[in-house]
Amino acid sequence: MRAYLWLIPLLPLLGVLINAWFGHRLPRRVSGAVACLVVFGSFVLGVAALIRLIGMPPGQRIIYHKLFPWISTGGFESAVALMYDPLSAVMVCVVTGVGFLIHVYSLGYMAHDPRYPRFFAYMNLFTFAMLMLVLADNFLLMFVGWEGVGLCSYLLIGFWFERKSASDAGMKAFIVNRVGDFGFLLGMMFIFAVFGSLRFHDVFKQVAADPATLTLTVTGICLLLFVGATGKSAQIPLYVWLPDAMEGPTPVSALIHAATMVTAGVYMVARCWIMFLNAPLALTVVACIGALTALFAATIALVQNDIKRVLAYSTISQLGYMFMACGAGVFAAGVFHLMTHAFFKALLFLGAGSVMHAMSDDTDIRRMGGLMKWLPVTGVTFWVGTLAISGIPPFSGFFSKDEIIWSSLAGPMGSWVFWVFGVVTAALTAFYMARLTFKVFHGQPRMSGEQKHHLHESPPSMAWVLILLAVGASLAGFLNIPPAIAHLLHLPERWTAAFTNFLEPSVGTHEQAVYLLEASVGGSQIGFAKLAHGLQHNAALEFGLMGITLALAAGAILTGRWMYVSRPGTGTALARKLPFLFRTLQNKYYLDEFYKAVIVRPGMALGNALWRGFDVLVIEGIVNGIAIATAIISRLFRVFQTGYVRNYAAGILAGAILIIWVLMR
């Protein structure tokens, strides 16, 4: 088992090397095939390891593999070591599985790009970095993957660097991520300072052994780590890079939004569950940020007219959900949503790419409509994605979202406030997705004649990927049927909450969470944990709340149909009636402008001033100073520096005298 664990990240790296060196020599077909095959190979290995993991007793489902010691100097030791536990397994399978489908899709999508091999080299590198991130058994190696993902996102978002907006977006992603990475790095340094190790196992063991005294320190560390997570997973206030990230090729957006990169933050929080549960304050911050982001991004998505931009904001919103679940203390729910989201968001993005493909790269939904006729496969699969993200049963989103909404109330740190946020966001999600789908695929065609002439369904390689993802998005939910429903339908025990049970060794059980929380605040001061415990088994309440959510979502979809298909003018009329609200949303709460005014502009001004001052005083000073100093020195020591051998020899002799003098002193 161990023997091939290291192959999982190595295969994509091999793909990188092949495509970077021989890519331009190989035929395009081979170059692309290599890139896809290596990811598929990783996927197969990941699944094989997963099967092996399931075969082990639940308590021991963890495989360590120390590849080699990396840094060993003085008091600091760190190894390149991999770890495969249920959480890693889920991440590996999602990253490689969905990643593989996106790679295959890219074969067709990027077919005409001149930098084809370089694209696949970057994609494989991205996969490699993400695999290192999720397989690492210590913070340092995780950080390497973390940085690698950041670098690759910069390269891929700015892949079409000839377009200024693209290279700007790449730069923005890079810089915003740097801010987050700085938090992560600081957190890591604190971890090493406090625990003397960076291995997950060592750190978590120490935290679990002594939760009461460590709470304060751990809270600080967790907040710093969470800063890193907000950067990578696009949460308030560092979400600004993600909407711009769609400047990259669409498969890149799919890869960033669905399988890799943005999930890194959620993964990291889930990985550090013991630490976060030991820091209730940090956990509350996580939940609040998650809930706020979810609602906030959903409202912006309501009025965007760019098909990829709507999806981008929806990603931010869904990530908010995941953090809300983690913040409520139910990490399994967050990871489950991460997985289902990977399916349906990849599906939606690739569907959007297919639409753009057909529409000659037009992304404005105001110029679409009625596309179902021309793009039946894309249309149907896009509908699957929409229903899944809206939480309509039996699609996967229903199960995962319902679990999050229920956990936000019933989790150990749950609260009715989070529940309200979750339900409202669910309704908004259903509405904007319905708006998007109806506007694109139904109603009257609004595109120009020429565009209409060119409309065509995507090639089979892209269509099949959509179909496969649609199957995944439909069925993935059944991995985790909530106990209440399972009980109702008299399903066998092993069908009930299978995913959560599988994940529990990695992210803890409800009882463990409550224990840690209570220990960290000292005794049973948090009564709501007990209350939540009571709620946990209140099936009637669960069904009631589920019904509310479902009704709202269904209502929202129907409203969307009414507004954009039956009465196409309604939306515009509404916008005219509420101009202020509409414009605020349209401009994303003016937050980009706010950032520009409050941070970027003063920053630039400060930078400019500094730069001028620096430039004039320091750089020119140094340059001139060097020139002057060199002139003075060369005038003083011309005898040594004119290139005359005799002067150099005199220098050597003088040096020898100096050496003798020092030695004989």
């Binding site: 005898v639 005799r646 002067n647 002799l653 005298i657 003798i660 003098w661 004989m664």
Partner: protein, 166 residues
Amino acid sequence: MPSVLQLVFLFFAAVTVVGALAVVLVRNLFHAALWLAVTFLSVASLFIVLNADFVGLSQVIVYVGAISVLMLFAIMLTEDVVGARGLSLRSAWPAALPVAAGVCVVLVRWFARYAWLPPQPPKPGGTAGTIGLAFIQKYLFAFELASVILLAALIGAIYLAKEERS
């Protein structure tokens, strides 16, 4: 009261120093080379005074016989140097003087403190035999290696001096 041997030593030492100074100070390059030969000779004499007969004779054969003559040929064949007044080294004085003074101070300071032992009486039969045996026994590898070094120098000299064909 210095012994006769010491007086002879001092004489050749003085000649060596004067000769070396002349090499540096004389303007004419040809004269400088001649002075160099004088210096080499007196160094050879010093070796012989110190009972190092083999080294002294080698010094005469190699340095006086070969190197000095080679230099003289080179100077004579390079026409524009023979008649020239030579290079002016006046600009080098400010750098050379403190360095030379430093060397002088350091050497005098520490060598003067050291209680030098008188030379040992000469061994019968000279040193050539001993050195020869050492070369083919203990120092054989070093000896052979020296020939490799000479070979490298030879290759280099041929390469650099050879006329370009074509």
